[in-house]
């Protein structure tokens, strides 16, 4: 169950011709999930900044 299914790195990338589909799906998926985290983090930072400025001015 825990044996590597491929002989070498090239096989992992190529996956008998299916590598382009498999790796593109995972890259896009990871990118979108990662991007969502970044957007959420940035949004929290921005709103905290605004609240801090408001607190300081009042």
């Amino acid at each position: 169950m825990f044996n590597l299914a491929f002989e070498n790195f090239n096989e992992i990338l190529y996956m008998d011709g299916h590598g382009i589909y498999v790796w593109s799906v995972y890259s896009i998926g990871t990118f979108l999930i990662f991007l969502s985290f970044l957007i959420a983090k940035k949004s929290i930072r921005d709103i905290q900044q605004k609240i801090k400025i408001k607190n300081a001015s009042s």
């Binding site: 044996n3 590597l4 995972y26 896009i28 998926g29 949004s43």
Partner: protein, 211 residues
């Protein structure tokens, strides 16, 4: 955990006898489609909370979960499309499961657009909740679409009650990927709901005191 599931599935799980290595897309495709439906179900529960008990947090959670739901449904659709090229020889088919998932994606967009169209946010919250509750009728249809229509898409390989039709060497990484994506989405949900609560409650004293 998600990385463990993906690494196991991508590198260690054996090749499928029929689909070859392209089946490895399953470790992203299946979890994302499961969560596309689960997130909508969660939103429906929040919408009921908001409509019945007037809990503001219900609406905030819907508003934070809807973009995540849309994103994960898009990933599900896209991964299914790409998987379709080597498996069915076409990237899109007006097939039951694919079409109903596209409808789910449109529902997410509809909810977001509806909320964004009103400047009165309390009104937007209520209308959005009504739409979410009514839209939940589509979830069992999406779930059962492969059984009701003649379709290219295969029936579900794993189910809560009926066991599974796939080998344990593929099933375990799949289950780990499902749980891993679940945790990832929960943490994303916590982050975005935190940010949305800040935005909506920014003028309240408890927010000013805690920032």
């Amino acid at each position: 955990m998600l990385m463990l599931g993906w690494t196991w599935g991508l590198l260690f799980a054996p090749q499928d006898a029929v689909q070859g290595n392209s089946y490895r897309i399953i470790f992203l495709h299946v979890p994302s489609v499961i969560f596309a439906e689960l997130i909508y179900f969660f939103m429906a529960v929040c919408a009921l909370m908001h409509l019945v008990w007037r809990v503001k947090l219900g609406a905030y959670l819907i508003k934070s979960a809807a973009p995540i739901g849309a994103m994960i449904t898009f990933i599900g659709l896209l991964s299914g499309s790409i998987w379709g090229i080597p498996t069915w020889g076409t990237w899109w088919q007006w097939d039951a499961r694919i079409t109903s998932t596209l409808i789910l994606f449109i529902m997410y967009l509809g909810i977001l657009t509806l909320h964004g169209s009103f400047s009165n946010l309390e009104k937007a919250d209520r209308l959005m909740s009504i739409l979410v509750v009514i839209g939940v009728v589509n979830i069992p249809i999406i779930k059962k679409s492969v059984d009701w229509w003649s379709t290219l898409h295969q029936p579900a390989s794993i189910s809560v009650s009926g066991g599974s039709s796939i080998d344990p060497s593929m099933l375990y990484p799949l289950l780990i990927s499902v749980i891993g994506l679940g945790f990832t989405l929960i943490s994303l949900g916590i982050l975005s709901s935190r940010s949305y609560i800040f935005i909506r409650e920014k003028n309240k004293r408890w927010i000013s005191e805690n920032v």
